[in-house]
């Protein structure tokens, strides 16, 4: 039967410094020889790869716990250092201690009566402001009393202690050897330790000078066997080898009574090796290298940085049961669904436990095996052993299946999956979808959920994870399902919405289409609506009637569309207004928000799915295309635009003339040259904006204009640039000034201030750009590109800092916001305790309530 599982919860982790005795007591063996293996290739006893420290080779058994490879966690060993050595990471603390204690009586150089007071002050600071503030206070206290060169206790004159980085101490001119330093530290009494922030009883300052050193277990520094059969040792093992070797030589030389110079040299070398073992990036030391010149990766390097133990392995986890592939759109699947290729569905599995009731059902999966869909890949026996289902084992497995076995079956429709796209900047970057197995090799998702993931289909890849336990699945489904994430906690508005075609389609439908009853029914049925009772009994149907079928029966709404016209829905019927981005799109109108509030997540996502299907279907039946002809302007519009530009250019020239004649009035706080620049820029931009307006105002409807009007794609400016005039290219808010001396390109005259010499593009993209215009366009294009490239890492770092600083803030049961240590940050979240994602754009909707009670109120 199953092993009895002992559940333990870690309550706290305490940090501390190991005493030499502790190191010896906890060690599994003393290391005495730098040799690693004997002639047969077995680890040498007392060597660095000693099997008492754990095993990294198959077949060997750890002598300490009797476990095999991968079972034994490994054990620490130790070596006795011939001479004490300074621990590089404690140098600063040692230095502070030496400076603050008397060389004669080894007492802290603070008068006794002050000492007590300072300790209590320190304790207070610690309790109130935390460790970091305490640390600062310690420095302050020490500094305050440091200036004296006479001990207040024994009146001994003090010599100045100097630290020659990285680890040599001098008193005056004489060097203090680690032995002497240690002797001094030993004499500091326990009572005085707390002024330095140490805990008496748990810590002795002399432990900061190493007399014995821990040898990390073999499992922490596994050797790898190369293809050639040669063994390659870990960097740590190399370093430890150096330490043990030098240590032995030092021992031998001391015992042989070698001259002091040689011993000093070896001692220094030992110090160097021990130092680089802990940290190979000490600024003043040359880093220890491999024979090839490659820098060794020792302990400090392993821990720090993004690829280090903490951020890479501890704070970041890896997972099984995940898949990654290219994404592509499928408007016909639901918002909540994700299309999974069959091949992935056959690799990822869901564990299902056999019971009396599902035994036959699950047996079918086993019967089909791993190669037929939907089958099963593994079974897990009650004792925890896992067995692969193959053609050979299938029969045997089928016979032994009894309740209690777990089948790892293929993904089937309706399974729960988490779907994610990097960068995962907000919680909507990872949402729960239900699996829909589809042919093909890409993940399919509804285009409406592109926005929260910030995905497009130009080759984006996304990840899929399959939760393996019931708890995980429940949590994912209840908290992370797409429809529960519709409202962004950032602003309380919808993050999903129709995009592109779906918007255009609905816009055209509600604006101008008139359909026959047959067409309308056909259309609606195509988007999955079979209840047509809401369709008015008429032969000729307005597009609004068709759209209204999707709306809930008692839905009331009034708002504005993108161009500011009223949109009114009364009792589930769209009375006036067109459906465009303002109401269907994401992060804008309140229609979706209202629907969500009144009818809940399920029907909102249903509605959204149907609306986008409707829009797309409408559009594909009506036909919608864009061509160069859409950029054509009416004759008089074109003339008007040309005139506007000509006028602006004339204005610019007259400004330049005025400037050169010295007749120009400077703007307050600006020089003349700046003034003329600004005014030219302003005039040209005005012309461009005006030509944009003119383009949009023209009567001739082109598809491009339709898209810009309903907000599906493009804006008036884009169209104006294609059809009318591209306009002034601006770099850093100014006209283009870079290039040669006094001119932008050699093509122009020096000091030419005219519009075209400083990046004004008077052509449109359709009419074509002149070479100089093209070059200016490329300049601003490059600038924009660089801006993005520089911004991404900056904002990424800001985000990392913010999330690290605030991740532990939570709302307590009493409504206060507190951090992990219980410190109150806000008495009521956001001053009113409202959850942004439950409000409409951050406010409680008072109007609707009043509305419901009083009835329609006339808007003043």
């Amino acid at each position: 039967m199953e092993k009895a599982i002992v559940y333990k919860k870690i309550k706290a982790i305490s940090f501390g410094v190991l005493s030499p005795k502790m190191i010896q007591d906890m060690s599994a063996g003393k290391i005495v020889t730098p040799e690693l293996y004997d002639r047969e290739g077995y680890p040498v006893d007392g060597g660095l790869m000693d099997t008492r420290l754990g095993v990294v080779d198959p077949g060997l058994v750890c002598k300490t716990d009797g476990l095999k490879l991968k079972e034994s966690l490994g054990h620490f060993g130790y070596i006795e250092l011939a001479r004490p050595v300074v621990h590089i990471k404690f140098v600063k603390t040692i230095y502070d201690l030496l400076k603050a204690t008397c060389r004669g009586c080894n007492q802290v150089m603070i008068p006794t009566q002050h000492l007590k007071k300072q300790i209590s002050v320190l304790d207070e600071v610690r309790v109130e402001q935390g460790f970091e503030a305490g640390r600062r206070k310690i420095k302050e206290i020490i500094k305050k009393y440091l200036a004296k060169d006479k001990c207040p206790h024994c009146e001994a004159k003090q010599e100045k202690i100097k630290l020659e980085k990285p680890y040599n101490f001098y008193e005056g001119e004489t060097r203090l050897s680690p032995i002497e330093v240690r002797a001094r530290l030993e004499k500091i009494s326990d009572d005085e330790l707390s002024i330095f922030g140490f805990r008496p009883g748990e810590f002795r300052p002399e432990w900061m000078i190493l007399t014995v050193m821990q040898i990390p277990p073999v499992t922490m520094r596994p050797s790898i066997t190369l293809e050639s059969g040669e063994r390659s040792e870990d960097d740590l093992t190399h370093k430890l080898g150096d330490i043990v070797r030098i240590n032995q030589r030092l021992f031998e030389n001391i015992n042989a009574g070698a001259p002091e110079v040689i011993i000093e040299d070896l001692w220094d070398l030992l110090q160097y090796h021990v130092t680089t073992f802990f940290d190979n990036e000490v600024p003043q030391l040359p880093p220890a290298r491999h024979r090839g010149g490659q820098v060794l990766k020792t302990l400090a390097t392993r821990v720090s940085s993004k690829e280090g133990r903490i951020r890479h392995n501890l704070a970041g986890k890896r997972t099984d049961f995940s898949a990654r592939t290219v994404i592509s759109p499928d408007p016909m699947i639901e918002l909540n669904e994700v299309g999974v290729p069959q091949r992935i569905a056959m690799t990822l599995t869901v564990p299902e436990r056999i019971t009396e009731w599902n035994k036959e059902y699950l047996k079918e999966f086993v019967q089909r095996g791993p190669k037929l869909y939907p089958g099963a890949n593994y079974i897990i026996k009650p004792d925890g052993r896992r067995k692969a289902i193959t053609d050979d084992t299938k029969k045997e497995i089928l016979e032994e299946l009894v309740p209690g076995y777990i089948i790892e079956r293929h993904l089937i429709n309706g399974d729960i999956a988490l779907f994610n796209r990097q960068p995962s900047l907000h919680r909507m970057s990872m949402m729960c979808h239900s699996v829909k197995v589809l042919p093909g090799k890409t993940f399919r998702l509804n285009p409406a959920v592109c926005n929260p993931y910030n995905a497009d289909f130009d080759g984006d890849e996304m990840n899929l994870h399959i939760p393996q336990t019931e708890e995980a699945r429940a949590e994912a489904k209840i908290l992370m399902l797409v429809e529960t994430q519709l409202i962004s906690p950032r602003d309380g508005l919808s993050v999903v919405g129709c995009i592109q075609d779906a918007i255009t389609g609905n816009y055209l439908l509600t604006k101008e289409l008139v359909l026959s009853r047959q067409e309308a029914v056909d259309l609606l049925y195509n988007c999955g609506i079979d209840d047509l009772s809401a369709l008015p009994d008429k032969e000729k149907l307005d597009g609004k009637d068709v759209f209204s079928v999707l709306l809930p029966k008692n839905f009331n709404f009034s708002g504005k569309d993108k161009s500011g016209n009223d949109v009114k829905i009364v009792h589930g019927i769209l009375k006036t207004g067109y459906m465009d981005k303002a109401n269907l799109g994401q992060e804008s109108g309140l229609m979706l928000r209202n629907l969500y509030e009144q009818y809940g997540p399920k029907s909102t996502s249903d509605f959204l799915g149907k609306v986008s299907k409707l829009g797309i279907t409408v559009l594909s039946r009506r036909g919608f295309t864009i061509g160069i002809g859409d950029m054509d302007l009416l004759e008089n519009t074109y003339d008007e635009i040309q005139q506007t530009i000509a006028k602006a250019e004339a204005e610019a020239y007259s400004l330049i003339d005025d400037f050169q004649a010295g007749k120009l009035e400077p703007l307050p706080g600006r020089t003349l040259a700046e003034t003329v620049e600004l005014r030219i820029l302003e005039a040209l931009n005005r012309a461009r904006n005006k030509s944009g307006d003119l383009t949009m105002k023209q009567v001739k409807e082109s598809t491009a204009v339709v898209m810009a009007k309903c907000g599906a794609r493009g804006n008036p400016l884009n169209i104006a640039q294609m059809a009318g005039v591209v306009g002034q290219q601006a770099l850093r808010g100014k006209r283009i000034e870079h290039g040669y001396h006094d001119r932008t390109l050699p093509y122009f005259k020096k000091k030419d201030l005219s519009p075209n010499a400083h990046g004004f593009i008077r052509n449109s993209f359709k009419s074509g750009l002149t070479p100089s215009e093209f070059f200016f366009g490329a300049m601003t294009g490059r600038d924009a590109l660089m801006d993005t490239a520089l911004r991404t890492p900056k904002s990424g770092y800001l985000y990392r800092r913010l999330s690290n600083a605030m991740q532990d803030l939570k709302v307590e049961y009493d409504g206060t916001v507190r951090d992990a240590s219980g410190r109150i940050v806000q008495f009521s979240y956001g001053e009113d305790g409202l959850d942004v994602s439950r409000t409409q754009n951050g406010v409680v909707d008072v109007m609707t309530v009043i509305h419901n009670v009083v009835g329609e109120i006339k808007r003043s």
Binding site: R199, F203, I310, S795, A805, V811, V817, A820, G830
Partner: protein, 381 residues
């Protein structure tokens, strides 16, 4: 307002935030009946209670996401012209970073000075006031320095038009610089000042040094104000300055201290205190967010401002600021400089009680937030 209505509102005073109550009061029709008002209030109360945050909600992370995610959409352009007659302002991402770092010296310190009635309507007054604010040093108004080697005289002649602009007279200037020019004999006309060296005639150097010393003597205005610009805001005039000196400006009697602003958080902290600094952070960040056309709820920005000011000092969101105050060793180590934190923790025997997020992620335990917070007790029969 009817009396019984007031009573009703009074009943709900404790239930709602004040702003919400006021909103109801302004939106409800004045002639509403008692019974209907009761229903409105009850209805809003329902909505309000439903909209409150759930305990355990990890509001910190939500705020961090809400601010961090749109960060990628912000412009990097440091300088940006809002119209012709405005000044350079740091906006976009650089400004946000600057505020959250709680930098001591910001790139573009600015003030907006408002005036009390009736001064705010008078162009002439505002203009001359502005001119008086600008920090003017000696060399700003000097046209020429002449060093006469034979006579040991340094003659400084002023630019007459500048003198007029600044409304200065040579007499006043002499008063200002007398202290700085000890050991010299001063004589002046209405256009220049001459300094005669009193001591040994050989020391030319001291005359030169005097010149250098005089250059930076402040003649007029407030320290730190580099540029002034009177502009019209609505129907009143305000003065925009580049460079700040909130303390001195607030002491001027024509200035409306309630509305006058600086964009230097630390300065506001020093002058107005920590609550002022918190509000300044909120305002400044919100200003940038709005200018970028982003929609971030103010509550998120408030939370960041609150955590920056929670200790009573303005702390930046950096490894030296907010993060260094965390109780957990592992949380601090997982951010930046892990070794430093672990070594310090070891020396002082710190204990990590695993109360926040990363530590629990590290040791594979549920995080005490959201659904990880409550425990479930079952009675086993």
């Amino acid at each position: 307002m009817k009396k019984d209505h007031e009573e009703l509102y009074a009943q709900y005073e404790q239930e709602f935030p004040l702003a919400l109550l006021q909103e109801i009061q302004s939106k409800v029709p004045a002639d509403i009946s008692q019974e209907k008002l009761q229903r409105v209030l009850a209805g809003v109360h329902d909505v309000y209670v439903k909209s409150k945050v759930s305990p355990g909600e990890c509001v910190g992370l939500v705020s961090a996401e809400s601010i961090g995610e749109p960060g990628t959409q912000m412009t990097l352009n440091t300088f940006h012209f809002a119209g012709v007659s405005e000044m350079n302002v740091t906006t976009g991402l650089p400004r946000i970073i600057e505020i959250f770092d709680a930098r001591k010296d910001i790139k573009t310190p600015m003030m907006e000075i408002y005036f009390k009635e009736p001064h705010n309507k008078k162009v002439e007054f505002v203009r001359s006031f502005a001119a008086g604010l600008k920090e003017t040093v000696f060399s700003d108004i000097v046209e020429e320095y002449t060093l006469n080697i034979f006579d040991q005289v340094l003659r400084v002649s002023f630019n007459a038009s500048l003198l007029e602009d600044f409304d200065l007279e040579v007499k006043e200037i002499v008063k200002q610089i007398k202290l700085k020019s000890k050991g010299f004999e001063l004589s002046h006309t209405d256009k220049d000042i001459s300094f005669l060296h009193k001591g040994k005639p050989e020391e030319l150097k001291s005359l030169y040094l005097l010149k250098e010393k005089l250059r930076n003597v402040m003649i007029k205005g407030l320290k730190g104000i580099r540029q002034v610009l009177p502009v019209k805001r609505g129907d009143e005039f305000v003065v925009l300055t580049s460079g700040t000196n909130l303390k001195d400006v607030l002491q001027m009697k024509e200035v409306d201290g309630a509305r006058t602003l600086s964009n230097d958080i630390h300065e506001i902290h020093a002058v107005l205190g920590i609550e002022g600094a918190r509000q300044a952070i909120i305002n400044e960040v919100y200003k940038v967010v709005e200018a970028q056309g982003l929609n971030i709820d103010i509550r998120h920005i408030m939370l960041v401002a609150d955590i920056m000011c929670a200790s009573g000092n303005v702390k930046g969101i950096t490894r030296y600021g907010v993060v260094s105050e965390k109780a957990s060793v592992l949380a601090r180590a997982s951010f930046e400089t892990p070794i430093k934190h672990i070594i310090n923790a070891a020396l002082e025997g710190e204990v990590d009680y695993l109360t926040s997020v990363v530590e629990n992620v590290m040791i594979n335990q549920p995080v005490p937030l959201g659904t990880g917070l409550p425990g479930l007790v079952t009675k086993m029969k």
